[in-house]
Symmetry: none
Subunit: 121 residues, 2 copies
Amino acid sequence: MAEEKEEKKLTEETVKEEKPEKTPRTQKVKENIVFVGSKPPMSYVLAIITSLSASNVKEIALKARGRAITTAVDTAEITRRRFMKDLKVSKIVLGTEEMPAREGENRARMVSTIEITLTRE
Amino acid sequence: MAEEKEEKKLTEETVKEEKPEKTPRTQKVKENIVFVGSKPPMSYVLAIITSLSASNVKEIALKARGRAITTAVDTAEITRRRFMKDLKVSKIVLGTEEMPAREGENRARMVSTIEITLTRE
């Protein structure tokens, strides 16, 4: 019996020791990110609603580049106006990314990006 | 005379009463607005540079809706990164507009809009 207890304690300690290693990942509250691509906006709206309903996450970021930027804006607007009226656009960041040259092209293309953060009040 | 004065006073009061209606238009310093449509981004980049160089305007707003949202983001990014490095994105507002139904359609479409304000430091 005593041996069994000791073993249990040891296991608990091992778990405790592992914790600090994991902290960086847990400390920085990993916000949810939805990457917006070429699907219709409603797919991403659904992803946002599912993500915000399932967890106690209060913030979600939509990331898109190139033509998907319009879809990201549509997604944010549809989600806010039609489904989750307590959602606010808390931050929008524009950016530029360099994309590798495609076949037949001889130089990199610059592509605009957007990141829209939606926060639940 | 007394009557005239009274009348004048009355007019002044009427004017005063009208003022609050007009104030929003005059108080809000009319910033320059570039409407972004289906032309290539460089057309709008040129419009921004011309507008900001010719006058002492420090702020310019890019407005776009639907697919032109991507062009507006491209325009903002190209202007900032390639031509006017002292330009900052000071504000971004998303919105939704109702567009009248097109021929053959029987209900109004909702279109997303964006307004990007660029400010010179």
